[in-house]
C-alpha cells in the first residue's frame, strides 16, 4: 500500500450530503479489472449531463481541478454499498485525501487500506472551508499526517487529524496488513483450535 505522510494541494468541493458509493462509481463499472484503471469511472454519472457530455458545472470538470489531490465533501460521504471500487476510482484519479464531517464506515476502512486518507473535521469547519474556497478556489490545504494536523487556507487555522493510532501507523508506513497479521499466526492458530473444538459445526 502507498504510504500517506503529507499532502498539499488545491481542493475540489464535491457538493451533496449522503454522497453514496453509487455516485462515486455506478455499479455497472464494477466488473472492470483494476489494471484498466478506475479513475475514468469517478463520479461517472453525476459529472455528466444526461446526454453524456462532461458537465462544466460539476466541480471536478472545472479548470484546475485535474491537479487537485484533496476533496472536500459533505456529511456521510461514501455511505451505501461496500464497493471498494469507489476508493479505487478516487485513488486512480489521483485523489490522496478526502476531508468531510463524516464518512460511511465501510468506505472509511476501504480508504485506509488503499493509502487514501479520510479526514474528519467538524461540520462548521468544513462549511467555513467550503465558503472560503467558493471565493478563493486556489486556496491550498495541507494534510500532514506525520504532524497529525490539517492546515487550512486564509484564517481558518490548523486542526488536528483525529484518527485511531493503529490506522494512522498503518497508513503512515504503508504497511501491508496481511503480512503484519501473519506475525500473529501462532496466536491465531491457538485461538482457532479451541474455537473449532468447542464449535465443531464450523469445521464441516
Amino acid at each position: 500500500m502507498r504510504a500517506f505522510v503529507r499532502e498539499a494541494s488545491k481542493v475540489v468541493v464535491i457538493p451533496g450530503m449522503n454522497c453514496d458509493t453509487d455516485q462515486i462509481i455506478p455499479g455497472r463499472f464494477l466488473k472492470s479489472d483494476r489494471a484498466q484503471g478506475y479513475g475514468q469511472y469517478l463520479f461517472h454519472d453525476i459529472r455528466r449531463t444526461s446526454a453524456g457530455a462532461l458537465d462544466e458545472a460539476f466541480p471536478l470538470n472545472q479548470a484546475g481541478a485535474e491537479t487537485a489531490t484533496i476533496l472536500l465533501v459533505e456529511d456521510n460521504f461514501g455511505c451505501g454499498s461496500s464497493r471498494e471500487g469507489a476508493v479505487y476510482a478516487l485513488v486512480d484519479h489521483g485523489i490522496r485525501a478526502v476531508i468531510g464531517p463524516s464518512f460511511g464506515d465501510i468506505f472509511y476502512n476501504n480508504a485506509l487500506k488503499n493509502g487514501l486518507l479520510p479526514v474528519r473535521l467538524n461540520p462548521e469547519i468544513c462549511r467555513a472551508l467550503a465558503d472560503h474556497l467558493a471565493h478563493a478556489k486556489d486556496g491550498e490545504v495541507v494534510v500532514d499526517l506525520q504532524a497529525s494536523e490539517v492546515v487550512l487556507p486564509g484564517n481558518l487555522g490548523t486542526h488536528p487529524v483525529v484518527i485511531d493510532a493503529f490506522a494512522r501507523d498503518c497508513i503512515l508506513r504503508g504497511l501491508d496488513e496481511i503480512d503484519m497479521t501473519f506475525t500473529f499466526m501462532e496466536q491465531i492458530q491457538d485461538f482457532e483450535a479451541k474455537r473449532l473444538a468447542s464449535h465443531p459445526w464450523l469445521d464441516r
Partner: protein, 474 residues
C-alpha cells in the same frame, strides 16, 4: 479467551469478547471470523490472494453464492444480459474451484441472494462473527450474530488469515414497543427509524433492536430490520437470539446437529444483553405511531407516511439539507406539497435482500385480491428455495395469473447490475433498500416501500395506502 468480566455486557460485547484473539496496544481487536460469504463481486480479493501466492486459509469456513450478476430469466451464464456479465458468473465459479470453496452456483437449488441463503442454510448462527463483501451483511445479525459488510482488502485479509482488525463500535439500542397497526411491517419500522435519526444517524454504532415489537417479529421480519441498519449508517444490526431464533435455526444444514443442539442453545441463551448493560445511545419508537411508509427522495432518510406530502426543502434546518432535498426533488420529478398517495408509477419491483423471503411474498400476494397488475411488475424471490416454496404454496400461480412476472432468484433490480434495470425517468415502487440517484438504472426514480405496498401499487398503478379500501380496492 479471557475471563468474563462481572460488568453487565451487551449482546455485541459478549460476542466480541468471545472472538477477540488479542487487542493491539494501539486500540483495535484482532477478531476471529467464523464465516466469510463470497459473491461475484469478490473477484478483487481473489486476485489479491493470487498475486500474493496465497490460497483461502480455511476454505471450510468460506461459502460462495452467485447473486449480484445472475440472470433472472434463466439459470445458465449464457442467459446473462451481456457477455461481460456472463464472464462475472464464470469467474466466480473459477475462483471458488481454485480456492476449494463450497459454493452455490447459478444452477444450484441452494442458490439465492447471499443474505437470504446464509440464514436459510444455517450458515448464519447465533454467536458467530460473519462477514461478506456486501454492505447488507448487517441483515444476518438478526439471528444474534456479529455480521458486517467489508471491502475487498478486508475480504482478502479474512481469506488469508480468518481474522480482521476491528475497532469495537459503540452500541445503539433501538427499542420498539407497542403494537404495529395492520399493514405496517418491519420495512416501515426501518424507514420510520431512518427518517427519525437520519441516514448518518447510526454511523460508528452497532444497532441492537429490542422491545415487544422485535420479540414478536418472525426471523424474516428481523432480517428486514437488520438489513436496513446500514441505511442508517450502522454497519451492524443485531437481535438477541430467543426461542423464535432457535426454532428457525434447528435442523438447517450447517447448524449444530441434534446431538450438539442442547449445548449450543444453552450457550446462545447467555448472549442476550445483560440487565443494566450500558448502551452508548438509546432510541425509542412507538409502534402505534408508525404508518406504511414511502420515500420521496434519493436517500432512505427521505421517508414519510403514505398519507403524507412531499416536504418543502425550504423548511429543512440546514443549508446542506435544503440543497440536497431540492436536488432530490428535481431528480424525482416531484414538487413540495404533492400527495404521495396516488402518484402514478411505471414499474414495480418486489425482491432484494430486504424483502424477498417467503413471508414477504405471502404479504404481497394477500394484497392482490383477484386484481391484475396494471403496470409492469416483477417478483424476484430471494432464493431458489423461497421460489420453490412459493410455487408449492400456490403464490407463484397467483402472481402469474395477476400479470406479475415471476422470475428466478438474485439481486436483480436492487443492485441493477445484472441487466434488470428501470429506464431513465421511470418511476418504480420497490421493496429494495436504496433509492439513490441511478441505483436502479441511470435516471431511474425509486420509491422504497414494503411488499404489501408494492403489490397494491402494482394493481392500482400508483402509490396506494393499503390501509384504505383494502389497498385501493374500490
Amino acid at each position: 479467551m479471557k475471563a468474563a468480566s462481572d460488568a453487565p455486557r451487551t449482546l455485541l460485547g459478549k460476542i466480541w469478547d468471545e472472538h477477540e484473539i488479542l487487542r493491539h496496544p494501539s486500540g483495535p481487536s484482532l477478531l476471529y471470523i467464523d464465516r466469510d460469504m463470497i459473491h461475484e463481486g469478490s473477484f478483487h480479493a481473489f486476485a489479491d490472494l493470487k498475486a500474493r501466492g496465497l490460497k483461502p486459509r480455511r476454505p471450510k469456513q468460506i461459502f460462495g453464492v452467485a447473486d449480484h450478476y445472475v440472470p433472472t430469466r434463466g439459470r445458465t451464464a449464457q442467459d446473462a444480459a451481456t457477455p461481460a456479465i456472463a464472464r462475472m458468473i464464470e469467474t466466480f465459479d473459477e475462483n471458488m474451484q481454485w480456492g476449494g470453496v463450497r459454493h452455490f452456483s447459478l444452477s444450484d437449488r441452494r442458490q439465492g441472494i447471499v443474505h437470504v441463503v446464509a440464514p436459510e442454510q444455517g450458515i448464519t448462527l447465533p454467536g458467530l462473527t460473519l462477514v461478506c463483501s456486501d454492505s447488507h451483511t448487517s441483515t444476518q445479525g438478526a439471528l444474534g450474530s456479529i455480521a458486517f459488510g467489508i471491502g475487498q482488502s478486508e475480504n482478502a485479509h479474512v481469506l488469508a488469515t480468518q481474522t480482521l482488525w476491528q475497532l469495537r463500535p459503540k452500541v445503539m439500542r433501538v427499542t420498539i414497543d407497542g403494537v404495529l397497526a395492520e399493514g405496517v411491517t418491519a420495512k416501515d419500522v426501518m424507514l420510520a427509524l431512518i427518517a427519525k435519526i437520519g441516514a448518518a444517524g447510526a454511523g460508528g454504532y452497532a444497532i441492537e433492536f429490542a422491545g415487544s415489537v422485535v420479540r414478536g417479529l418472525s426471523i424474516e421480519g428481523r432480517l428486514t430490520l437488520c438489513n436496513m441498519s446500514i441505511e442508517a449508517a450502522a454497519r451492524f444490526g443485531m437481535v438477541a437470539p430467543d426461542e423464535t431464533t432457535f426454532a428457525y435455526v434447528r435442523g438447517r444444514h450447517y447448524a449444530p446437529s441434534e446431538q450438539e443442539w442442547e449445548g449450543a442453545v444453552a450457550y446462545w441463551r447467555t448472549l442476550a444483553s445483560d440487565e443494566g448493560a450500558f448502551f452508548d445511545r438509546e432510541v425509542h419508537l412507538d409502534a402505534a405511531e408508525i404508518a406504511p411508509m414511502v420515500t420521496w427522495g434519493t436517500s432512505p432518510e427521505d421517508a414519510v407516511a403514505i398519507d403524507g406530502l412531499v416536504p418543502d426543502p425550504a423548511r429543512f434546518d440546514s443549508v446542506d439539507r435544503r440543497k440536497s432535498a431540492q436536488k432530490s426533488l428535481d431528480y424525482m420529478g416531484l414538487k413540495p406539497g404533492m400527495a404521495l398517495q396516488g402518484l402514478a408509477l411505471d414499474k414495480v419491483f418486489i425482491g432484494s435482500c430486504t424483502n424477498s423471503r417467503i413471508e414477504d411474498l405471502r404479504s404481497a400476494a394477500a394484497m392482490i385480491k383477484g386484481r391484475k397488475a396494471v403496470i409492469p411488475s416483477i417478483i424476484v424471490p430471494g432464493s431458489t428455495q423461497v421460489r420453490e416454496q412459493a410455487e408449492a404454496e400456490g403464490l407463484a400461480t397467483l402472481f402469474r395469473d395477476a400479470g406479475f412476472e415471476w422470475r428466478e432468484s438474485g439481486c436483480s433490480m436492487c443492485a441493477a447490475i445484472n441487466g434488470d434495470v428501470i429506464g431513465p425517468g421511470e418511476r418504480c415502487a420497490s421493496t429494495s433498500n436504496r433509492n439513490f440517484v441511478g441505483r436502479q438504472g441511470p435516471g431511474a426514480r425509486t420509491h422504497l416501500v414494503s411488499p404489501a405496498m408494492a403489490a397494491a401499487a402494482a394493481v392500482t398503478g400508483c402509490l396506494t395506502d393499503i390501509r384504505r379500501n383494502g389497498g385501493g380496492l374500490s
